[in-house]
């Protein structure tokens, strides 16, 4: 008996970590599939509006953003504090929205074009005049599906 016990102690195997890479790889694939790269840096300061009747935007790949708000401090010296419209990475004039939309349309297969959604991320203190101009431009390009981006509101009005 003692001899056998001695043998067992000697051959106590370490916990196998061979499957660890596999587990990590599964996690890795999960994040690779779910990740959406942030392709623009927001150059305007947006204090989001709040709402209670919000709906989730499906299909992130079919959503593009128009940001409107005062430039962040870094750009104030150059552009002032008046609200700016940001398309992709640059400040733009409302008339450039037409181009922006046709670029977005070119990126997706034709059958998905009707599902393209423009999400407006607008600072809460922006005046509606600017937004009306943006909306009119969108209507001119027949991009009618839009969403006013907002965050949930808990407190009462």
């Amino acid at each position: 008996m003692p001899a056998i016990r001695k043998k067992e102690e000697k051959e106590l195997p370490a916990v196998s970590t061979a499957s660890l890479p596999d587990i990590i790889f599964i996690l890795l694939f999960f994040f690779m599939v779910t990740t959406v790269m942030r392709d623009t840096s927001v150059k305007v300061d947006i204090k989001p509006v709040k709402g209670t009747e919000l709906q989730k935007l499906e299909k992130k790949s079919l959503v593009h953003y128009i940001y409107v708000g005062p430039p962040i401090p870094k750009y104030r010296a150059k552009y002032g504090t008046a609200p700016q419209i940001q398309l992709n990475d640059v400040f733009a004039h409302p008339s450039q929205i037409r181009n922006f939309i046709s670029n977005e349309r070119a990126k997706v297969p034709e059958k998905h074009i009707p599902a393209l959604t423009t999400s407006l991320r607008v600072d809460k203190d922006v005046r509606m005049g600017t937004i009306t101009d943006v909306k009119q431009e969108l209507r001119k390009t027949n991009q009618l599906k839009i969403s006013y981006s907002a965050v949930p509101r808990q407190e009462d009005l």
Binding site: E53, V122, D125, N142, Y148, L157
Partner: protein, 181 residues
């Protein structure tokens, strides 16, 4: 006898995978974008005046927002927090009060804002209008199907939606830039 091939050491594989994993963890954005979905009306390119609509005056809930973010509803000043109740009364009137709509199917909300209106006020108004409709739809669903609108099957949802169609008509912006004044 052939020499045994030395096994490739795979213990660093986990480290490499970890590194990649951390990279994707950091770059991933999990924020779900939420918002108020709207379908804009197509732009009418012709210069003809729109055909006269035979919408009865009582069916229209007129909302004007001025540049001071004040509301004028049916010609009377109103606080934003009162808008939800008033909209519900207007839409769910079923002909009872002669000042409000004949039926929810005929009720229309007409919204006009000034160019100087703050975006926040505009969104709050839009949100309150939707809230009123959602509450009415919920009440209707509870009464006829026994559960809230969200939990209904799609077929029933469209029934409720047809009963309470959300009709918000926004005024065309005029060239002078003055909206509600």
């Amino acid at each position: 006898m052939a020499r045994k091939l030395p096994e490739i050491n795979a213990s660093s594989m986990a480290d490499i995978a970890f590194l990649l994993l951390i990279f994707f963890l950091v770059t991933t954005t999990m924020d779900i974008d939420k918002g108020l979905p709207v379908n804009l009306p197509p732009l009418d390119e012709s210069n003809e005046p729109p055909p006269p609509t035979n919408i009865n005056k009582r069916n229209t809930l007129n909302i004007l927002i001025n540049s001071q973010d004040q509301l004028l509803v049916k010609g009377e000043p109103l606080e934003v927090r009162e808008l939800r109740e008033l909209t519900k009364r207007h839409v769910g009137n079923y002909g009872a009060d002669p000042n409000f709509s004949v039926s929810p199917k005929k009720a229309v909300v007409s919204l006009k804002n000034h160019r100087g209106t703050r975006y926040e006020t505009y969104i709050t108004v839009q949100n309150e209008l939707r809230a009123a409709y959602n509450e009415l739809r919920d009440e209707y669903s509870e009464r006829y199907f026994g559960r809230t609108f969200d939990k209904l099957p799609d077929a029933h949802k469209s029934v409720v939606r047809a009963e309470y169609p959300l009709k918000i008509s926004e005024a065309e912006p005029d060239k002078t830039g003055s909206g509600a004044e």
